[in-house]
């Protein structure tokens, strides 16, 4: 029999669940809980959406001055 988990515990496991990093029995308990819990299913979907949106951000750009200094230093070392 798999252990039952409460909503409050489930919320701590969401990232591990989405990353497929949970042990099999914990994963099964999470899935059993989600199938019967609207509140936690909503939060899981919101985590998914948040992660997807975060992925649309671009990596912070260097300001041109900093980037040029860095690239110039790099060219010096490589002698190109």
């Amino acid at each position: 029999m798999s252990t039952q988990i409460a909503c409050r515990q489930l919320l701590e496991l969401i990232s591990g669940y989405l990353d497929e990093a949970l042990p099999a029995d914990t994963r099964a308990a999470v899935e059993a809980h989600l199938s019967g819990c609207d509140g936690c299913s909503a939060v899981l979907d919101e985590f998914r959406t948040t992660i997807e949106l975060t992925g649309q951000l671009t990596e912070a750009q260097l300001t041109p001055a900093q980037r040029d200094t860095m690239l110039a230093a790099f060219r010096d070392w490589t002698g190109s």
């Binding site: 919320l11 990353d19 909503a42 985590f47 949106l53 992925g55």
Partner: protein
């Protein structure tokens, strides 16, 4: 060159966690790239190239931090809220189940949820995180690194990586929710 441009912004932020100024962080990054060039023949492909580069950087930055007598406790970098629950305890009954259901975004128009304003909210929420939480979510969810790469690059345990990422994601999710609620009112 492309790799230098792509990795340097996160390298500067990571170096800055261990040293006292942006200038010293920049020196550490330059020293790391020099080390990469000199040592590239020794790169054996046991980790990804970017992980290997970050390990060189973290070593250099930590050494420089020690030289400056600046030792930063892990809790300062990671945040002091790693043990805290992801959710207001008041939302649950004594058995740990929802006492009131959480605000559900799913009925909202999609363009509102996925609009540019939401992306700006996410960007600001990440900026506001403790440095290590911010860097883990950037590398994982913005740059698409694997958990193993992040763990090795930043010298984190498996558990720390997961907890840092979860705290970061939970706070970003919360910021998006606050933004969507305020727009609705």
């Amino acid at each position: 060159m492309e790799l230098v441009e792509r990795l340097t912004p996160s390298m500067r932020r990571v170096a800055r966690m261990f040293v006292s100024s942006d200038a010293v962080a920049d020196e550490a990054v330059q020293e790391a790239w020099l080390g990469v060039l000199q040592g590239i023949d020794r790169f054996e492909g046991r980790s990804s190239l970017r992980t290997w580069i970050f390990r060189i950087l973290v070593n250099i930055a930590k050494t420089r931090g020690q030289r400056e007598a600046r030792s930063v406790p892990f809790a300062t970098l990671a945040g002091d809220d790693l043990e805290a629950p992801s959710w207001e305890p008041a939302a649950f009954d004594s058995g740990g189940h929802w006492s009131t259901l959480p605000f559900d975004w799913r009925g909202l128009p999609e363009d509102r949820v996925t609009g540019n304003e939401t992306l700006r909210v996410i960007g600001r929420a990440i900026e506001a995180l403790p440095p290590m939480q911010a860097e883990v979510i950037r590398l994982r969810d913005v740059s698409g690194w694997t958990s193993e790469e992040v763990r090795n690059a930043l010298e984190l345990t498996d558990t720390n990586q997961r907890v840092l990422l979860h705290r970061a994601r939970a706070k970003v999710r919360e910021a998006v929710e606050a933004h969507l609620r305020s727009e609705r009112e």
